[in-house]
Symmetry: C2
Subunit: 175 residues, 2 copies
């Protein structure tokens, strides 16, 4: 990707600062953007009868979006919010795709982002199909230790698909 392409991409981004707990994409809203985390982290979760189920955590240097909502132009059933005080770059998809002369690089950029976000989702989903809760915890410990350092146990629990108490017991056995 050339410098001109890069700087034209940056021109579609606007910075935004969020306090811990502040919501970036709300349930019921149509998602129209990619978010690039600059500092802090974003938490993506689903509201199941009042209980929060965490689907992903996005740290510095990584992207997140709700592609399903973007693509279908339908309201999001996920919430994306700041897990700490967080600053993000918001890439507006409408202005990127609707501009008069979209460079092929922009299409390729979007394609790569989409694949990147979705492959991450797929990787996490395989955890559930292949491994038991204890095995899932061990894998996170090995491959994504950052999660264990920065995410409260109570939030990690739903991410791993277990009760808070079960995760506490798994962790205890580890020493």
């Amino acid at each position: 990707m050339t410098n001109e392409d890069l700087s034209s991409l940056v021109s579609y981004a606007t910075g935004r600062e969020l306090k811990k707990g502040e919501v970036l994409l709300n349930e019921g809203e149509v998602c129209r953007a990619f978010y690039l985390v600059d500092k802090g982290y974003l938490r993506t979760w689903y509201n199941k009868n009042g209980a929060e189920i965490n689907l992903s955590f996005t740290f510095e240097g990584d992207f997140i979006s709700n592609l399903k909502s973007v693509k279908s132009k339908r309201p999001s059933n996920l919430i994306i919010e700041a897990g700490e005080d967080t600053s993000v770059w918001v890439f507006d998809l409408d202005s990127m795709t609707k501009q008069p002369n979209p460079s092929p690089e922009i299409n390729i950029f979007i394609r790569r982002l989409a694949i990147r976000i979705l492959l991450a989702a797929e990787e996490h989903s395989n955890l559930f199909k292949i491994y038991t809760p204890t095995e899932r915890y061990r894998l996170i410990e090995k491959n994504h230790p950052l999660l264990l350092q920065r995410i409260p146990l109570s939030q990690l629990a739903s991410y791993l698909g277990v009760a808070r108490e079960t995760l506490s017991r798994i962790r205890k056995k580890n020493h």
Copy 2:
């Protein structure tokens, strides 16, 4: 998409007939194509210590591929095979992307396919994070009844992440 674009796409496709159980993409092979199902269905699974775990079923008019393998150019750990006698169109990605003047439409086509395949994977993965086995069955019943009609219970079980016996009992309760 114009007619020329469409017919140029078709020119990258070759037809192939498969007997039930015949393998289209094998474990260890690098995936280089999209497959479009014309008749029958394809079953995508991976081998966990000798046990088959089904990840997706692809019916008439839908596409499947192993994008992770395509993108990384690394051997597939999934197997794609015919669940019935099946005929497919094979879209060769190398020849599509490496041709001298790739039209932007081809990039967009690939982008849409990729997103479509991955959104389906994501949807299925969310089933596991959010719902219990019984809820998963009910959702399949509601949103993808075709699966229940055409897929043997023993194969559906691993797709839903439960033991064969458990699925049999869930199904019984439903009446």
